[in-house]
């Protein structure tokens, strides 16, 4: 069965590259670029896994993750968080909020694919 991933990222060329490699790997990809409406976008899409950027217009990825973990429907949704900031404090904050996997930019395509497959199979 085709797995669905929602990519919440505001950088269009990153979104395009991620969408291409995931689609080519058999994923059904949907995207969203706005932080303020991101939580609703997750509810609407009901993805199997979520790729979530930290720095988004309107709302940070941390706030979005916090809301998702507070809701029964998304409490266990696998979330791969992407960030340009890889400091220990950022990683710890994401872990406290319940992130499934934390990855710093720039990432490799293979690493993203492997991580997503691990998250949905695990």
């Amino acid at each position: 069965m085709t797995k669905q991933v929602l990519v919440i990222e505001d950088e269009p060329n990153i979104v395009e590259a991620i969408s291409f490699i995931l689609s080519r790997d058999g994923w059904k990809v949907s995207t969203h670029a706005n932080g303020e409406t991101a939580v609703q976008a997750v509810y609407d899409a009901s993805p199997d896994v979520l790729i979530l950027d930290v720095m988004l217009p309107g709302r940070s990825g941390y706030d979005i993750l916090k809301d998702l973990r507070a809701n029964d429907a998304t409490r266990t949704l696998p979330v791969l968080m992407l960030t340009a900031r890889g400091q220990r404090t950022d990683r710890e904050l994401a872990q406290r909020l319940g992130v499934s996997k934390f990855m710093t930019k720039p990432f490799s395509n293979a690493e993203v694919l492997e991580t997503l497959n691990d998250l949905v199979s695990g």
């Binding site: 950088e11 990153i14 395009e16 930019k105 990432f107 490799s108 395509n109």
Partner: protein, 443 residues
């Protein structure tokens, strides 16, 4: 009343100041000279009525004998001791140290204060790197562009069939991100190089003076009026200005400022403001003509042109100075002419041509790179700053005046390609390049 073993030292100091004998004071307060000797050498604590009696005999207040500058010293010593507890200093003997070895105690306290100052500086710099929103935004821009490029390159070079439409989209994305990365990198470097730390405390003494001079656009009216002043009056005015300048916090910065103000005042006396402004109208900022008219060396004329306001409608001028090492120590920026904040500048600047040919004025029309290359007329001269003597190399100083090119120069003659510093210069075919540029050549 607080008792201090340093009180004894102050009693001895005060007694000797009054020319009183130890035996006389001891007798006056009803103790033996030997006991007073122990007190004065901080071997016996003193307080209560005896302290009051001695203070009265010495014509002072008991409080003045028990507290004083040493209180701050003791506080600093104890603070220093507590900062490194693993050394286990004898904190209870801090007064002994201060009393018997005041010089060494002062050194420990001063070094402790220096460490605290440096820690604060490190904290401020670290805080800037972590929390500066402009820096964070620039870095985010760079990393986002790099991420997009890396992913796209991996797709294009990873093999497998890629639809031609996708290929062209990815190539377009790469071009976009390449330009974005170049712009972001240049912005980042300019931010770090061009004084974006205006809210930061200056790090070195020269920066404190530079911050003040930039606020004033390098013009100091207080020193213009000293043309006819005698030496003492001039020095007093310079000292008053040094003390008035808020950003000059350290003694080193004040020394640097004092030397600059002295040179400014000497230049102003040699070429008074009113006569200079009148002469500029007819000479039209011709440096050689002004030097001949006032009978002054070229560096004096250049500094005056750079440091006084231009007559109405005239363009601003910039100026840089360096010593024999090539390090810029004085810089008055001119909009459009990029100056490196740290490190060496472009070796093609006429400033450095002048440095290699002392006494020979150098002039060149130069062009700095950029989306819209801009041209400037640079005139430079290098002279010995000190008196020339045998068996000692001269201390050379080079000065370069930077003026915007006039319309004819901007449109016509060939200009010398120069940059700011190699790091931010996009010229790829430069024989003088010392290090790779972080900028793409097509900007």
């Amino acid at each position: 009343m607080p008792q201090s073993r340093l009180t004894g030292s102050r009693i001895r100091e005060r007694r000797l100041f009054l020319g009183q004998k130890q035996s006389g004071l001891a007798k006056a307060v009803g103790i033996s000279a030997a006991y007073l000797n122990l007190i004065e050498h901080n071997r016996r604590r003193i307080g209560g009525k005896l302290l009051q009696d001695i203070a009265r005999e010495l014509g002072t207040d008991a409080l003045a004998l028990t507290e004083g500058a040493e209180a701050a010293l003791l506080g600093a010593l104890r603070d220093a001791g507590q900062r490194v507890p693993e050394v286990e200093p004898e904190l209870h003997r801090a007064e002994d140290l201060a009393g018997r070895f005041p010089g060494w105690a002062g050194l420990v306290a001063a070094q402790h204060q220096r460490i605290r100052d440096l820690e604060q500086l490190v904290e401020a710099l670290s805080d800037r790197l972590t929390h500066d929103p402009e820096l964070a935004a620039s870095l985010h821009e760079v990393i986002s562009a790099v991420t997009a490029i890396r992913s796209t390159v991996a797709i294009l070079s990873g093999g497998g069939d890629i639809d031609p439409d996708w290929q062209s989209r990815f190539l377009r994305n790469m071009r976009e991100e390449g330009r974005r990365l170049s712009g972001a990198a240049q912005g980042l470097v300019e931010y770090l190089d061009a004084g974006a730390d205006q809210d930061m405390a200056p790090v070195v003494p020269g920066e404190e003076l530079a911050a003040f001079l930039d606020q004033r656009d390098h013009h100091l009216p207080e020193l213009e009026a000293l043309s006819d002043a005698q030496g003492d009056t001039r020095e007093a005015a310079i000292e008053a200005l040094v003390e008035k300048v808020g950003v000059l916090e350290t003694a080193e910065a004040k020394d640097v400022a004092r030397r600059h103000f002295q040179q400014y005042a000497a230049d102003a006396a040699a070429i008074p403001l009113d006569r200079l402004q009148a002469a500029r109208v007819t000479a039209q900022d011709d440096v050689s003509a002004l030097a001949e008219q006032f009978g002054q060396p070229l560096p004096v004329v250049m500094r005056r042109l750079a440091f006084v306001p231009p007559p109405d409608g005239d363009a601003m001028v910039g100026l840089v100075s360096c010593d024999g090492s090539g390090s810029l120590y004085l810089r008055k920026p001119l909009p459009g002419f990029a100056l490196p904040r740290f490190g060496a500048a472009c070796p093609y600047w006429p400033l450095y041509q002048a440095l290699s040919r002392p006494g020979q004025p150098q002039r060149a029309l130069v062009e700095q790179p950029g989306p819209t290359p801009r041209r400037f007329l640079c005139q430079a001269i290098c002279l010995a700053r000190d008196t020339l003597v045998f068996d000692r190399p001269p201390v050379l100083e080079a000065v370069m005046l930077i003026q915007p090119a006039d319309d004819a120069q901007a449109a016509g003659a060939k200009a010398l390609p120069v940059g700011s510093s190699c790091r931010v210069c996009p010229r790829t075919d430069c024989a003088a390049r010392r290090e790779a540029s972080i900028l793409s050549p097509d900007r």
